[in-house]
Symmetry: C2
Subunit: 200 residues, 2 copies
DNA sequence: AGTAACTCGTACACCGGTGTTCGACAAGTT
DNA sequence: AACTTGTCGAACACCGGTGTACGAGTTACT
């Protein structure tokens, strides 16, 4: 027994490489969801075998990459002020969120074909919860509709953000416009029937 | 000269098989976008070789399947009455559309990885145009917002429908609810800022 | 009935990706 | 300096999918 020596402590060298692989992973998979292990290893400036030394399979790699990306995104989102008028707060949240979504769009596609859906959802739990609470507060204050389930409203916001990302990627809308389009659409969509849609 | 004999007229037998392959194609690809040629052939009750006799490559097959599915959907949509109050008309159109979208969702995913994007868009031109005209009419009559581009509104509708399909497929919402959710969301999203969101 | 069109199964070559093994070598830890 | 831990490249077996070739057997047209 003595000191719980379960951790032989990875060598500094190895840690650097793991980080490089993760970086390369998010980079490659963000451009092509079907990027091969070889490509990623090469982009990381590392041998393919070395990569397998750290990640037992492609699936494990994708999982790790996704997890890190979401964790980072979650950290960014924590900085957003969600107090005050829920509509204003939502706008702020969207402004920060949609770019994250845009970047990791292709990565998510990669994950969907390798990582089990349950795992993906659990990874998304953090960010998800944040939006959900905000929307619930807005509903309680009467500025967001209650005739549709909260979860549907959350989903709707996701659809629109993901869709906007695709439109940008296809060159059909200007990235600078996206934020305004998304919040304009979401704010209107969340307005309770019978009430006026807020201006801009 | 004489009778334009460019068509040796396929044998009846062959036509039946082609139809069976197309049917099996839409069926298989709707469940798994990565369905192999072998699977499809088997589902059609046909040898793999026979399939290759009619479609030179997997890509050509997917293209044909998608084209037929869209053409059929388009025919269904033509029956929808788009006159009268644009909001009511939109509700009707959604009611007919979203189920089509739901069915061919996975098929579209299949196409996206094999058929060039330009081709996909041109296939979608028909249905797309229909929604677009309706929205434009609504904008002209002042019941739909004009502060966002028409194309964005069209896209938004698509996002929400596709998203709803995913939610159903994941078992998170009841198929019977979907139609109401989608039109409720879209109608609110299309309402001009400063005006009241229509009830139900 | 005769002929052309079509189908079928098996078998094959090919490709690209995955995951593993090996032995030589460098880099870090103590 | 000694030793453990990683790294590297090449080579390999394996898998599943695509597309082709062949030859024998059926099915539809006229």
């Amino acid at each position: 027994m003595a000191t719980t020596q379960t951790k032989p402590a990875k060598r500094a060298d190895a840690q650097r490489n793991i980080a490089a692989i993760l970086d390369a992973g998010v980079h490659c998979l963000s451009q092509n969801p079907d990027a091969s292990v070889g490509e990623i290893a090469q982009a990381a400036g590392v041998g393919r075998v070395t990569l397998y030394g750290h990640f037992p399979s492609r699936a494990a790699l994708v999982d790790a990459v996704l997890a890190r990306a979401i964790e980072e995104g979650n950290a960014v989102l924590e900085a957003v002020d969600l107090s005050g008028d829920p509509r204003k707060a939502l706008t702020r949240l969207i402004e920060s969120s949609w770019q994250l979504v845009n970047r990791s769009r292709s990565l998510l596609a990669a994950a969907q074909s390798t990582v089990p859906p349950a795992r993906i959802r659990s990874l998304h739990a953090g960010p998800m919860e944040r939006v959900e609470h905000l929307i619930e507060r807005g509903q309680a204050e009467g500025v967001f509709r209650t005739d549709l389930p909260t979860t549907w409203l959350v989903s709707t916001l996701q659809f629109v953000m993901h869709g906007a990302a695709e439109e940008i990627n296809a060159g059909r809308i200007d990235p600078d416009d996206a934020g305004g389009f998304i919040s304009g659409t979401a704010l209107a969509a969340f307005t309770p029937p019978g009430r006026r849609v807020p201006k801009t």
